[in-house]
């Protein structure tokens, strides 16, 4: 074979690889990076009554002067504003708190379920897995609405409790943070169960026998072997619940009360009620910055997990 032929083939190979890699990158650039820069630009703009409801706009027909004017019009005013009004940082903190508490509750509920599934007879596992995934087949919005029907003062839960005589007065659950927690835990439970189930299912059962053989009781074996080995699944599940919950908008809006402060709700109100796009964009950019930290941590955990298995 001639050197040229080999060279051409190598070049063809390189091109093929480049095209293959280009697809996801183009996707990310078009659907993440470009929108992000648009939002970032709006966050640095000023509110205006015209459409789009912000200034300045880039006027390329004015040439270099137009570009200069455009950059001169950008400032960090909106970000400064976020620090001045306590509503925003309170909303951020409250979101973080609600996300953290819901994640812990989801973990406490999800782990035993995942454990039970992994220990179930093999012929039952596909069915159980199906049952976990099944709710996704119905619209998320409809499922949250149905919780309103369950939790409201005249709802199913209160009716049953009243009929049983457990309570005399209907419980006020609807429009409180408790309803938000219930909604979040319910919605995100599968995201906790599935990664934990995956790690538990992979675990070699002879490890537990070995632990028992070496003098562990069943409980000790769980704490010393099962739990450390499912750490990867726990971390993955926690991030999968925590990250979307921070920005959650539907659940606090539908189930939460007026005192339920979540940044997703604030964001919505800025965009659609106040129509203050620049401030809303600033809220979104800060939220993204806050979320990047757990996302990076999550990815590092995944990486470590892969290395440990490789």
């Amino acid at each position: 074979m001639s050197g040229d032929g080999l060279d051409t083939r190598h070049r063809g190979e390189a091109l093929r690889k480049a095209v293959l890699i280009a697809v996801p990158y183009l996707w990310l650039v078009a659907l993440f990076l470009v929108p992000f820069f648009i939002v970032l630009k709006i966050s640095l703009s000023d509110i205006a009554l015209a459409r789009p409801p912000y200034m300045p706009q880039l006027d390329l027909s004015a040439g270099l002067a137009g570009l200069r004017d455009f950059f001169a019009g950008l400032d960090f005013e909106n970000f400064v504003f976020l620090t001045e009004d306590s509503l925003y940082w309170k909303a951020y903190l409250s979101s973080l708190q609600i996300a953290a508490v819901s994640t812990i509750i989801t973990l406490l509920v999800g782990y035993p379920i995942a454990y039970g599934m992994a220990r179930a007879a093999p012929e039952w596992r596909p069915t159980l897995l199906m049952l976990v995934i099944l709710p996704f087949w119905t619209s998320f919005l409809i499922r949250v609405y149905s919780w309103m029907g369950i939790l409201s003062n005249e709802g199913t839960l209160n009716s049953v409790l009243l009929w049983l005589g457990v309570i005399d007065v209907p419980l006020q659950i609807m429009n409180t943070n408790i309803a938000v927690y219930i909604g979040v835990v319910y919605t995100y439970l599968p995201f906790m169960i599935l990664p934990i189930y995956a790690t538990l299912d992979k675990m070699d059962s002879s490890l537990l026998e070995a632990a028992e053989d070496l003098g562990c009781s069943r409980t000790e074996a769980f704490w010393l072997v099962t739990l450390p080995l499912s750490k990867g699944g726990i971390i993955a599940g926690c991030f999968l619940v925590f990250i979307p919950t921070i920005g959650e908008f539907v659940i606090p809006t539908l189930l939460g009360g007026s005192d339920t402060l979540m940044i997703g709700k604030v964001l919505w109100e800025e965009f659609f009620s106040n129509r203050d796009w620049p401030v809303a964009s600033a809220v979104a950019v800060v939220l993204l910055m806050i979320l990047i930290i757990p996302i990076v941590l999550f990815q590092r955990n995944e990486q470590k997990q892969r290395e440990a298995e490789g």
């Binding site: 002879s206 026998e209 070995a210 632990a211 070496l214 003098g215 562990c216 440990a308």
Partner: protein, 493 residues
């Protein structure tokens, strides 16, 4: 330095460390262990050998405490351990998958069991270091299991299960995951460690070579029962059943009907062979009758007086003659003369005996059906049995057979390495003629698959002491295979 033979099982005073008493284990309908009794002694290296599904792993899991017997009792040091959970038994197990904790370092894996005992830290450290030295793992103490090789993982698993100094160590197919070379090395290492620590080892394996190499005694299992418990050499050389013979190593199984052999050479036979008949004639006498000359009885008797016997010539035996003349000949037709297939005698042989190569004639009166004491005169030890195993083939002599088996169906188990093969007729009590069909060349040894005239196959093995180019037997060669009268083991079917 001579060592005293380690054989506690032969000492009636010795108390077994482990005793299975009529243990039965059922899983639903399935009977995994069937009324099994067994004693294993202290410091033994005991192997449970059998095909998959024979119950050997169930036995081990019952010893470890992961399963309880459905019936019967298991005694450890004289105490019934049924119902004692695994974490309270002085028994440790090395798992087939090694079951190393992937989140712990090698050091922590070995220390795991010791920490559970709540020993002081310095004691644990000393013991772990001792184990690391024993298994030559010092360098890898801080590594995680996925950072070391398969052989090293195997040693970590061994060190971990030995760390608590158990009375009994169970090894579940401990070397199954290693490649052959490493496995062989590790086998000796295991024996070494077993000797050093003085721990009783019970190993479960389906690899008979492994069991024979490491074990002081081997129990061959089949379908939840123990078929034979004995030292490796007894298992190999004196299997008690066809199953054991077939499971352990390679074996030729010659199935046939036993016939008692006279304790002393029969008078009639002496008359034929004569007191001066050379010993090889005995071999020839039972050699395949297919080599017998095509002669009518009258011709033979005419030739009888005149012709002495060539010791090299294959001789038809009385039974074969009788069968041929009375039964087979009318049906199958005359045998082909086979003499021409015999190798020509060397010039020396010609010089010393210028005798024609014809078979010795037999007196028609002597050619009686079984159980006539027909064949086999000579210096060969008397007694035992002969086995009629195929039409048109000479019966096989087994002087180690029990004469009481007379008339019963038997199997002669014959190890290939005890079967000689040659291009010339062999000077052996049992010789058969055939053609080489296959040669399995293993480097150090070759196994020849020889097809006999009746279509049955027999395997003969020779050590390749010569370089390959000088070996003379090859495919399609006409050969003789032969074996002594005690080479095989006679087993009742």
């Amino acid at each position: 330095m001579a060592q005293t033979v380690f054989a506690p099982w032969e000492d009636p005073e010795e108390k077994p460390l482990i005793e299975f008493r009529n243990v039965t284990k059922r899983f639903g309908e399935f009977v995994a262990i069937d009324d099994l009794s067994l004693a294993i002694y202290s410091k033994e290296f005991f192997a449970l050998l059998g095909p998959s599904g024979c119950g050997k792993t169930t036995m081990m899991r019952m010893l470890a405490g992961f399963e309880d017997p459905s019936e019967g009792a298991i005694l450890l040091d004289g105490r019934d351990i049924s119902g004692v959970p695994p974490n309270r038994r002085a028994v440790n197990m090395m798992f087939q998958s090694y079951a190393l904790f992937p989140h712990l370092s090698v050091w922590d894996n070995i220390a795991f069991g010791l920490k559970r005992e709540g020993q002081p830290k310095d004691k644990i450290a000393a013991r772990v270091d001792e184990m690391l030295r024993l298994t030559r793992l010092n360098k890898f103490a801080t590594r995680k299991p996925h950072q070391i090789s398969g052989g090293q993982r195997q040693r970590v698993a061994l060190a971990r299960s030995l760390a608590k100094a158990p009375k009994l160590l169970l090894l579940d197919e401990p070397l199954g995951a290693l490649d052959r070379k490493l496995r062989e090395e590790t086998q000796f290492e295991l024996m070494d460690i077993q000797e050093k620590t003085g721990t009783t080892f019970v190993i479960v394996t389906h690899d008979q070579e492994e069991a024979m190499t490491v074990a002081s005694r081997v129990a061959v299992m089949d379908e939840g029962r123990i078929v034979q418990v004995a030292t490796p050499s007894v298992i190999y050389e004196a299997p008690i059943s066809v199953y054991v013979a077939d499971f352990i190593g390679d074996v030729n199984l010659v199935r046939g009907t036993a016939r008692a052999r006279p304790e002393t050479p029969s008078v009639a036979a002496e008359a034929v062979a004569g007191p001066t008949a050379p010993e090889p004639a005995a071999a020839a006498a039972v050699a395949p009758n297919l080599a017998a000359p095509e002669q009518t009885a009258s011709e033979r008797s005419a030739a009888e007086a005149a012709l002495p016997v060539d010791p090299r010539a294959p001789q038809p035996n009385a039974l074969g003659e009788w069968l041929h003349d009375k039964v087979l000949f009318p049906i199958l037709g005359r045998r082909k003369p086979q003499q021409k297939l015999l190798p020509a005698p060397s010039p020396q042989e010609r010089a010393t005996s210028d005798r024609p190569q014809t078979a010795p004639p037999r007196d028609a009166a002597q050619a009686k059906p079984a159980p006539a004491h027909a064949d086999d005169p000579d210096a060969l030890a008397g007694g035992g049995i002969v086995i009629d195993w195929a039409e048109g083939q000479p019966p096989v002599i087994a002087t180690n057979g029990d004469a009481a088996l007379d008339g019963k169906p038997v199997v002669l188990a014959l190890r290939p390495e005890k079967v000689s093969i040659g291009k010339a007729a062999l000077d052996m009590p049992n010789t058969l003629r055939g053609k080489v069909i296959d040669i399995a060349y293993l480097g150090n040894i070759s196994t020849y698959h020889v097809q006999l005239a009746d279509g049955s196959m027999i395997k003969a093995q020779t050590a390749n002491t010569r370089r390959l180019s000088r070996r003379d037997i090859t495919w399609e060669d006409e050969v003789w295979v032969g074996f002594s009268a005690t080479a095989g083991v006679v087993l009742e079917e």
